[in-house]
Amino acid sequence: MTGNLAPFLVFYIGAALAALTSGALRSALMLCVPLAGAYNLWTLPPSTTLDLQLLDYTLQLVRADKLSLLFAWLFHLAAFIAILFALHVKDRTQAVAGLVYAGSAVGAVMAGDLITLFVFWEMLAVSSVFFILARGSAHSYATAMRYLIIQVASGVILLAGILFHAKATGSIAFGSIGLPTFDGSAAAIGAWLILIAIFIKAAVPLFHNWLTDAYPEATATGTVFLSAFTTKVAVYALARGFAGVDLLVTIGTIMALYPIFFAVIENDLRRVLSYSMMNQIGFMIVGIGIGTNLAINGAVSHAFNDVIFKGLLFMSMGAVLYRTGTTKASELGGLFRSMPWTTTFCLVGALSISAVPLFSGFVSKSMIMVAAIEEGHPLVWLALLFASAGVVEHAGIKIPYFAFFAHDSGQRPKEAPLNMLLAMGLAALVCIFNGAYPWILYAALPFPVDYAPFTFEHILTQVQLLAFAVLAVVALHKSGLYPDEIPSRNIDAEWTYRKALPAVSGAVLALATLTRRGVETIGGKLVSRIERELRRQNGPEGYFGRDWPTGFMALWTTAMLGAYLLFAYL
């Protein structure tokens, strides 16, 4: 480290300064932090490390290689955009939390060992909860606590896994961990625990409720922060530790498909985006699972692009929320008349996520698809194709359509504030730039890129897919089968045009909804029941908590002695 700070420190110092300043000074300062961080990162000598000795282990606080640097750059960019977007917010807590959160994400991806990773893992959890708390309602408080418990629990599981891993391998370095068959050995337990911890953070189905629960509940600007970091750190951790693990292909495929059903019927557009986020992470996990250079490149570059275009979509919805106070599809519509810029940016985001050629999603997602075919996963390829069609429908069409077009809700909100527009504009620019000129992104990928995105074949496949998806929606809309104000009825329309698997999907959907509801209610009831019972037993008036007479204490002592003596004489 020659005169450079550890990259996360720039953000932490910025956070400390933001805590001490206010007003325009703080805003300026906050904008400078990611820029200063970027400068620091730029001048960081290649393959820098910063080591520290602890017990018998070496902590590597900073490890700069291609994979970690790419994510670090991404997080600097995302932090800058998110800070710019939130510049009008006069809340010190959110400002400090945002910088700590971004810094922790940078720290996590640059951590060279698992203990350092764990620290930033938990810092991510603790700092991000403030965006949900900042809503200030009782409901958001409950959500925030649920979110925090799950996130902290993920860290705790990670720590347990690290312990086993360290014991089995004698090292805490964070390299490829792999997934041995589960045979009860410390190595296997360690790998599985670490994987589960990452799954929670990545919102893999059945571990995902925190995401769809908490992200739509955060502040308008907070969701933009949230969407950028937590899950992408998990994607990074998977790419680092579990590349090429077959299980991930299956899980990623399920993850890409699973949320589509929910995204289609969901009315809250920010929740739609949350589901869509899971779906995109599913693509990345498939790529990591395939594990070839092409697939990893695809997964990593898709993570990069996803942060930007998903951030852009969340920003446009944040702007809508900021101006209208809602993101419910049924209450919105026709906003393009008064929010033309926001509409335009949202469309760029929608085109990018739909992987339209010349927009960013196309250059990265197709790498994963091609890798799937090359490595002999035709079923996975088909499933991903289906998932892509779903993306086009729910993120590419539904989001902009219901918010800005569709049935005119009569609302004429003002255009978003300038800082929001600038942030969205910057993100849109990156989307288009990466889509049209992907070579800079490709050069930053962990493996040399031997992939041509703009071949006739790739473009044709994608355009066909898009055309059919759009055509179907349009046709249905024209024939009146796509009612726009009661989104829950969308299902019927969906099923009619996907005639290939109507019944199965319906059953799956119903079952999935039912299971989810069941798990949520039973789980919720169980938790509150346990809590009540614990309080009864252990509260100040409870069995263990109350003051006991001295004789009772003596009784315990005698009982213990008696038990031992009984053993001694038996």
């Binding site: 720590l159 410390a186 252990n538 100040p540 908590g545 001295t550 009772f552 003596a554 002592t557 001694a568």
Partner: protein
Amino acid sequence: MSVLAAAATAPSFAFVIGDHLPILQVIVPLLGAVLCALTRRGSFAFAIAALVSWSLLGVAIMLLWQVLGAAAPITYYIGGWAPPWGIEYRVDALNAFILVLVAGVGAITIPFAYRTVGKEIDEDKQSWFYALFLLCLSGLMGMAVTGDAFNIFVFMEVSSLSAYALIAMGSDRRALLAAYQYLIMGTIGATFYVIGIGLLYVVTGTLNLADLATRIGPAFGTAPQPILAALAFIVVGISLKLALFPLHLWLPNAYAFAPTFVTTFLAATATKVAVYILLRLYFTVFGGAISLSDLPIAEVLLMLSIAAMFIASILAVYEDSVERMLAYSSVAQIGCITLGMAIATRAGLTGSIVHLLNHAVMKATLFMAIGAVVYRVGTSCMSELAGIGRKMPLTMGLFVVAGLSIIGVPGTAGFISKWQLGIGAVDAGLWPLVFVLVGSSLIAVIYIGKVVEVAYFREPGDNLADARDPPASMLIPMALLGAATIYFGLDTTWSAQIADTAAQILIGGLK
């Protein structure tokens, strides 16, 4: 000429002192206590107590230095009488470590006493207070330094009796009841211990620990049951002293109502020395002579440790008084310590022993921080402390640092302990214990989090109008131990490495 003379005498003086370091551990505070009792002015007594504590730390560190440099344990015969007739002090890495721990806590926290005692104790009782404190200190040091089983009992009584009186001096009237309960329970514990020692004396004819270790084995062949009974009595008696769940019931009130300095000192030292006695007797004396699996002590200890780590932690969650919360947290942390003992491998015991130190450091910080809050606000009830973090930023900042250590966040001492214990558990094939460890940490997140939430995320009420950080005499000890919490989280040369040496001594003697 005079320089030469000084140079000539200095080594012999150092030589003499160096020879008598073990007995000085006890004599220095004992004489200090007498001096304190003779003074009538509180501030004068404080000065004596402070000087004694500081020089005692110097003596303890010198002894540790000697022990680490020596190949065999350092022995010292009281009055020149060789064992088994005379009393022998016997110091190895384990008890030298404990001696430094006790003396260190005493020396660092003593400045904290000046203000709090001035506020909580009547002027005419202050010199008695310091005399009692030094007596207690001398008792604890004596327990750690001596190599004689009956001598342990004597020092145990010295430290306990003075502790009862110290607790009873708390300004809350409930302190009397708490001290009384502690007195009854402590006496039962001590009685059990002395019964156990008596049984051993009957079958072996010796009270010297090293001698016992060699004689119990042969005696076990002819009369196994008295020896097992002795083991049972001793383990239960000491378990009471170290507040092993569910024998901890005396502890929360004793800690909550005692004068704040007493709470700090006792929480950091008294239970730790009891743990040391248990380690010493269980592993060195009994473990060297008989198979420890004759009694299911490790199994019971394991179960009770797990129960302590969970139940006591949950009790802490529901506690409104921060002092009682910390007291329950102590019970849970003692569960961690006994857990390592139950694992009974080198790694597990290293975890236990290093946690003795780490827990002492962080719990003393926490109790001092909340003591400072009580000093300014007059209560430790969370319902009254909304926004205290903004009013007393340094104090609560240190509270958070030590709280993170209780949780076991990397970079703090608590992490080192948890990690060592976890490694010990995996090592011994008891891997579900890893989940017990992280599970109890998760509960610690909740109770520490509750304080943080109250202290930082609420608006200060009117009752905190003139709350501010305490004077330097209270802040500096807090800051020193807070810094130590971080230091021992980053550099384990003086904690885990010595603990490892000590653990090897314990394990090495096992039959």
